[in-house]
């Protein structure tokens, strides 16, 4: 109960939830207790298997068939959820609580018009059809959808991802609920779209005074959206408190470790290496006596294995479940802070030179220019980060570079030699020099082959090794990616995501690759695992002097690992330069907007820049500069008529913008211009 006596929006007390898997009950939530006050925004953060989605589903009583609440209580706006009859539960869902989850395209019924789906929210409360329709229009306007009339008549597949999520949010808030649950609502959306959706949520929350339970694995997003946060590990709430306090003064070894895993501004791979958390994330429902974190904790002592730590109150609504919370910040590092990084000799010939690479697809009679004249040089031992949102062409570019997709124009040179555009035409030597690590480790490895078989085959084709020589090399390779020998005889589906990715990396490094394309290699991994993989990649680069083309939508990661950065928009290079320069400025207006959208866990956030409209379709690129339809620094007619050439505005820094660099430097030093246009 809060000071004024109003019931909390959500109150969980000692909630125990178990799933029945293969005949045995496995505990997924262990005594979870927290409260969300009215109009408060509470974040729940954790990695895979920690139970955050289970918490959300328990709250609305939508657990899968094999899940049940073993003990504890759930109260929403003072009502005991577990004691409700089915009719009462339906009433609760219709009026008091809403849930928004990942992937809006799946959350909307593809066969029903948007208008009808939104109106349903009203009709279920007995409101007549006409009024329901009016209120639907109203609520869509509230989420800043411009052409409401037309959107109501459309089907979900006719809307963009960002628009769909707005509709889902509109449906959620239409009932003016006491509690709004958001489960990874922006994962999978582009950076700029994500920023807009989050802004919208924050705005609506302030307007409606709704309580929010915000579930995410991303601490940066939580920091932006929430006042308080709870850290979940293996189904137990290990620390809880105001967001800023948790970030400045974490008092649980897991929280400390987690924060150290996240790349922070200004920290680069050569000074300020990411730390990792040793061990593996526990499986869902694993038996964990004593402290759930004991197996991986650097401060562990005898008592941690035997007794469950109680909740220690640390003042200011800050609490921690650790026997040794006062020593938390002394948690020893696993990886030393400063490690050598590869040195790059820029006087030599570039390893890879790409000139005017073009790739046009033909679909439904439209010509889609996915890559429109991209040029770059990559030197041995360097990491070039490739950044862009959907439609930027970054994946297509990488595939064209590798020959997986035949480019429609331009050329690729390796070591000064032009290589044939198609993979099948390339010599085995060229094939061996360019390798790739994919995003999704599940589909990147053949699930019917054992790890040993996968690596042996790679060794044979990429290093020409077989027999005893191959076996020896295999063991060395496994060691270099820290893959224990006992994993060699298993199939990939028995390995965790992080381990699979290590195998994929080992495979890429079986021969002596000169350039390895890393296509979102850590996007599908948990934060702590991501840190380990990034460290591995940096280590291998130092040892083998290999170059990386590192593709990612996560700017924080790109900044950490890249020496130089390329920013792509609609298949064209907007900016290309040393990582720090691109990040610090002066930078291209698009880069500026991208960076402002990035939720960070550090202080001193940039002023949010809202971009007008949506990303244009590659089939109909805007005339002149492709970015002009959304640019907040648009000069005027010149941007609409002439495409700005990519010129070297500073030493090693290229940009495609009509605004001279000095002007940009001046403008960006001031406060950023903010416009709030409606989404169309």
């Amino acid at each position: 109960m809060t000071a004024d006596g109003a019931a909390p929006a959500l109150e969980l007390r000692e909630l125990d939830v178990a799933y029945r898997i293969r005949g045995r009950d496995r505990q997924v939530l262990r005594g979870v207790t927290f409260t969300v006050a009215p109009a408060e925004s509470y974040g729940l953060v954790g990695e895979s298997g920690c139970g955050k989605s289970t918490t959300a589903l328990s709250t609305v009583q939508y657990l899968p068939r094999n899940g049940r609440v073993r003990s504890g209580s759930i109260h929403i706006a003072g009502r005991d959820v577990l004691g409700l009859s089915y009719a009462e539960l339906r009433r609760l869902r219709a009026t008091q609580v809403s849930m928004v989850y990942q992937d809006p395209s799946q959350a909307l019924n593809p066969s029903i018009k948007i208008g009808n789906q939104v109106a349903e929210v009203f009709r279920v409360r007995g409101i007549a059809s006409d009024e329901a329709e009016d209120r639907s229009s109203e609520v869509l306007r509230r989420v800043q959808i411009a052409d409401v009339g037309s959107v109501l008549k459309r089907y979900p597949h006719q809307l963009s991802g960002g628009m769909q999520q707005r509709v889902v949010i509109a449906m959620a808030l239409a009932k003016d609920p006491a509690l709004l649950i958001l489960d990874e609502p922006t994962t999978g959306l582009d950076a700029t779209v994500e920023a807009e959706v989050l802004d919208l949520i924050a705005q609506l929350q302030a307007e409606f005074q709704t309580s929010v339970l915000f579930i995410s694995h991303n601490l940066g997003v939580i920091r932006r959206m929430c006042e308080r946060v709870g850290v979940l590990y293996a189904g137990r709430l290990v620390e809880e408190g105001p967001v800023e306090v948790i970030l400045q003064d974490p008092r649980h070894p897991y929280t400390v470790g987690l924060i150290r895993c996240i790349p922070r501004g200004g920290v680069r791979k050569d000074h300020g290496r990411l730390d990792t958390i040793p061990g593996f994330l526990p499986m869902l429902g694993e038996e964990l006596p004593g402290c759930v974190f004991a197996d991986r904790c650097g401060l562990v002592r005898e008592v941690c294995h035997t007794s469950e730590p109680p909740l220690h109150r640390l003042g200011e609504r800050h609490a921690s479940r650790c026997h040794f919370h006062d020593e938390a910040h002394e948690l020893p590092r696993v990886i030393p802070e400063n490690l050598e990084a590869a040195s790059i000799d820029r006087s030599a010939t570039p390893l890879v030179r790409v000139a005017d690479l073009e790739k046009t697809f033909h679909q439904h009679g439209h010509a889609i220019r996915a890559v429109a004249g991209v040029s770059m040089s990559i030197w041995a031992g360097e990491t070039v980060g490739l950044v862009g949102e959907s439609g930027s062409g970054k994946t297509t570019f990488a595939r064209a570079l590798l020959g997986l997709v035949a480019p429609t124009g331009g050329s690729v040179e390796v070591d000064g030699r032009t290589v044939p555009p198609k993979l099948g035409q390339r010599s085995q030597q060229d094939v061996r020099s360019l390798q790739i690590v994919f995003q999704n480790p599940d589909s990147a490895l053949n699930r019917r082959h054992t790890v040993r078989r996968i690596l042996r085959r790679a060794l044979k084709k990429l290093a020409n090794l077989s027999g005893a020589g191959a076996e020896q090399r295999l063991l060395e390779l496994a060691q270099s990616v820290r893959l224990a020998e006992r994993y060699l005889t298993v199939r990939p589906n028995q390995l965790s995501g992080g381990l699979k990715q290590r195998v994929a990396i080992a495979r890429a490094f079986s021969g002596t690759p000169r350039l390895v394309v890393c296509d979102e290699p850590t996007s599908a991994l948990d934060v702590s695992v991501q840190a380990a993989i990034l460290n591995l990649l940096v280590e291998l680069q130092t040892m083998r002097k290999v170059a990386y083309l590192f593709i990612s939508h996560d700017l924080g990661v790109v900044r950490y690992i890249s020496d130089r950065i390329v920013v792509l928009y609609l298949g064209r290079v907007m900016e290309f330069g040393p990582a720090e320069v691109v990040f610090e400025g002066p930078h291209h207006p698009y880069t500026e907007a991208l960076l402002s959208a990035l939720p960070t866990i550090d202080g001193g956030g940039r002023e949010r820049i809202k971009l007008a409209g949506e990303i244009p379709s590659a089939a109909a690129p805007p005339p002149g500069c492709v970015f002009q339809t959304r640019c907040h620094r648009k000069l005027g007619a010149i941007c609409e008529e002439q495409a700005p050439p990519l010129v070297e505005v500073e030493q090693g820094h290229l940009m495609a913008c009509h605004i001279p660099i000095e002007e940009l430097r001046r403008l960006q030093a001031e406060k950023a211009v903010e416009r709030v246009p409606a989404a169309t």
Binding site: L434, A444, K461, Q472
Partner: protein, 293 residues
């Protein structure tokens, strides 16, 4: 560089997984019942005359006796013991159906792999032909072909096998299309692997599960087809005790309502066919369930 010793080989995890699958199968009731039924008929077909109470071809008994007494299932028009004939009636089916299925699966898999992997013109052309082929009911094609080629065990196997190929290729092609999107296929290409390697070593093992399921389903349909064709007169001819042949010989008697349509002459052989197919389908279902894990 320190020396790294090569580890001694251990029983691979793959072998352990296969053993576990087998154990799971053996515990499934559908599998056990299915194997029991099919096994029973196989046994009878193999040991034929030694297990029957009377000689299946012996015509010395009173014709059209109702079931009971000495004749468990009665006798047929020519005075033969129906029970004995039913016991040995599986042999032709058991000869033709599995081989036809094998042929269909092998051919269909190759077609499916090639069209699914290469796409493009090859796929378009072959798919159109397959579409046209699938427009015709199996029976129609089989009858036409058998009239042209003449009836024998060999032609039955070939005709049914070939008719199955397009159907199997559809399933395989769909599975291959899904697989080839996955990155491990691209990783293979990036190693410089050639097309046959990618198709047969990388992709094929991953589509084995649907192929095996399809094979077991096809086996049921093969038995269906053999029985149906025999009924139409395209299989073993009288005096063979083949089940469908028995039905074909005796079904006109059904009109004789005075004697209850002499139902026993056709009901029991019919039930035998049904039981065989049900048995095969139960096995198919059990295997499919286990492979889904």
């Amino acid at each position: 560089m320190s020396t790294v010793s090569v580890a001694a080989p251990r029983p691979s995890e793959a072998r352990i997984a296969r053993r576990e699958t087998l154990q799971q199968l053996l515990r499934s009731p559908t599998f056990i019942v299915g194997i029991a039924i099919v096994g029973f008929w196989v046994f009878c077909a193999l040991f034929g005359s030694s297990v029957t109470p009377h000689d299946p071809q012996d015509q010395s008994f009173t014709p059209l006796l109702k079931p009971g007494g000495n004749h468990f299932f009665g006798t047929d028009t020519l005075g033969r013991d129906v029970f004995s004939r039913v016991l040995v009636g599986a042999s032709d089916i058991l000869k033709v159906a599995p081989l036809a299925t094998l042929l269909g699966i092998a051919g269909g898999t190759v077609i499916g792999l090639v069209t699914g992997y290469f796409r493009g013109i090859v796929d378009d052309a072959v798919s159109r032909v397959v579409d046209a082929w699938l427009a015709l009911p199996l029976i129609v094609i089989a009858v036409t072909a058998l009239v042209a080629l003449g009836v024998s065990t060999a032609t039955l196997i070939v005709v049914i096998g070939v008719v199955f190929m397009p159907i199997v290729s559809r399933t395989v092609r769909a599975a291959v299309l899904a697989e080839r999107q996955l990155e491990y296929v691209q990783a293979a290409r990036l190693r410089g692997e050639r097309a046959p390697y990618v198709m047969f070593v990388e992709i094929l093992p991953n589509v084995m599960a649907p192929i095996i399921v399809e094979a077991t389903v096809r086996l049921g349909y093969a038995i269906f087809a053999v029985a149906g064709l025999t009924f139409l007169g395209f299989g073993p001819q009288p005096p063979s005790p083949d089940w469908a042949a028995q039905v074909s010989e005796n079904y006109q008697l059904v009109n004789d309502t005075a004697h209850q349509g002499n139902y026993w002459t056709v009901l029991f052989p019919g039930a035998a066919v049904a039981s065989m197919i049900v048995g095969v389908n139960l096995i198919a279902d059990a295997i499919a369930r286990v492979l889904q894990r």
